[in-house]
Amino acid sequence: MSANAQRVAASPSTDNVEVLPWAGDDRELLELLRRGGATSAAALYDRFATDVRRVIDRCLGPDRERDDVVHDAFVQILRGVAKVREPAALRGWVMTVAVNTARSELRRRRFRRLWWSSEPAPESVDDTIDPEQRDLLRRIYGALDRMDTDLRLAFVLRFVERHELTEVARLTDCSLATVKRRISRAVAELGTRLGDDPEIVARFGKEAS
């Protein structure tokens, strides 16, 4: 067992130890994952948890079920990782699964909203964010909630995650032309939906060219 694997295996999951980042490279991690077991699951989580949490956070918005969705994504990653052959492809593949998990969750919620005929109980927001900013986040994601899921993901991946267009296309499994079209529509829709909110315009506005 490599030093990294030993470190992960020995790392107790109690609250009185520091979480050390996965220090190995992706080739070593992939080999560990192919052997399976708890050690590889822990290493996978340590390596990618921040990235997966971040992209799911940004796709869903502040969300009390975030940890469940992140867990779902990692379970799917564990189950499918045998398909990854090249270590260099591991991170991209992990992020694709994370985006797909977020998409499934958004579609599930779309159905929930249709079925309940009204919004479910408001989602909680990280209380480390001050109330004014929490409110702004709620309004922004309120507008995103009313957008088509594909447009929303295109906007988040391009503008918030700052991916290149080709990477957005890869993550969302569509052509470059489709991505461009979706981003264009997303920006227009978001501008319309948020443009009616004077506080939002004051805070995030720019002069029309």
Partner: protein
Amino acid sequence: MTESQRIVDPDTVADFVGERLDGSASRRAHLVGRERLVRAAEGDLGARTGARGLWLGGGVLALAAAAAVTWFVWPSRAVVVPSETSPVAAAPSGALVGEWIQAPSRGVSALDVGRGAALALHDGARGRVALVDDARVVVVLEAGHLAAEVDPKANRKVAVEAGPYTVAVVGTEFRVDWEPESGELAVAVTHGKVQVTTPASSGPIAVDAGHRLVVDDGGTLSLLAIEGVAADAEADDEPVIEAAIEPAIAAPSVRPKPRTPKDEPVTAPTWQSLAKAGKYEAAITAIDAGFDGALASLAVGDLELLADAARLAGRTAKAEAAYLALRKRFAGTTAAAHAAFQLGRQSSGAAAVKWLKLYLDEAPQGSFAKLARGRLIGALTDAGERRAAVDAARVYLDSYPDGPHAKVARALLESSSSP
């Protein structure tokens, strides 16, 4: 400059969001998340810890138990009890909304959701009440067996979320079997009507009484009649679900016509069942109006079925559109490679060359490799690429000296060596 002349800047919005949602978590939250994944990987808590996401078949996680949900209506209707223990008799868990609960390995834990509904986790099942108020109840079932009684008179909407599926109901009688290991969901409706959402569909799928919907790991839908259970004659008049589904995103409906009592149980004539029965033209006619939408929403198995049905019905343009959709939506899969072969087979000249080469690049040892290498000889010849055709013939004979295209290949080699 007034505010009315200002527009929202997407970059500024995105910066604001990005700075506040950066994926950070407390050390404790990280450890909890990691521990949860480790326990799922170990199969600790049986197949039950898993996750809502343990729905892809096969793989790393060894999941032991199949999961099942059974719902039944309040005592005014026949009761379907999935195990010896009634949920009503279960010990209350005392858990709060949002708190994960696991039933004892051989016992029952009740979920307290208030009036008109009694729900209980059975035999190691794990789940939580995600939302409860006067009008609504949402239960998330990670894995295992959940039983419920729902009183339709209480007028509360109840939904259970299992893996990627949501089963929604207001007073009905049905049973859901959720097997995370195989990724298969089965919903059998004995009274009333339910609606099921899947990741592959944009809207819910209605299932009426007397029918059983099975969704496999690949998202393929099958609707079967349940022996000895009559369809509700009034089912179509009872709007159990009040969802306002947008027509543009409505899921493919698999609702069959109600049967008369003297009818034998039959499989509903969905386009899938017609295609599988070899009635390709009828299958394509059945889905004709929703064909374009199906290209964008069907799961890979159904899309392959649709493409093959169109090809075998002689509907070349539709077949091409379906194979191209497979290439686009499921790039890198075996289905996409097969689509390349079929596109090559129904093309000619340079287009055929392109697709056949693509197939051979993607699946050099694939099930159509022999045919593709043989057809490539003819396609290259048709495209005027004689030298490449000769090379292809040589490759073919090296691999398949007795193959169906061997005669053509030898003739080409002989003619190319003639002065």
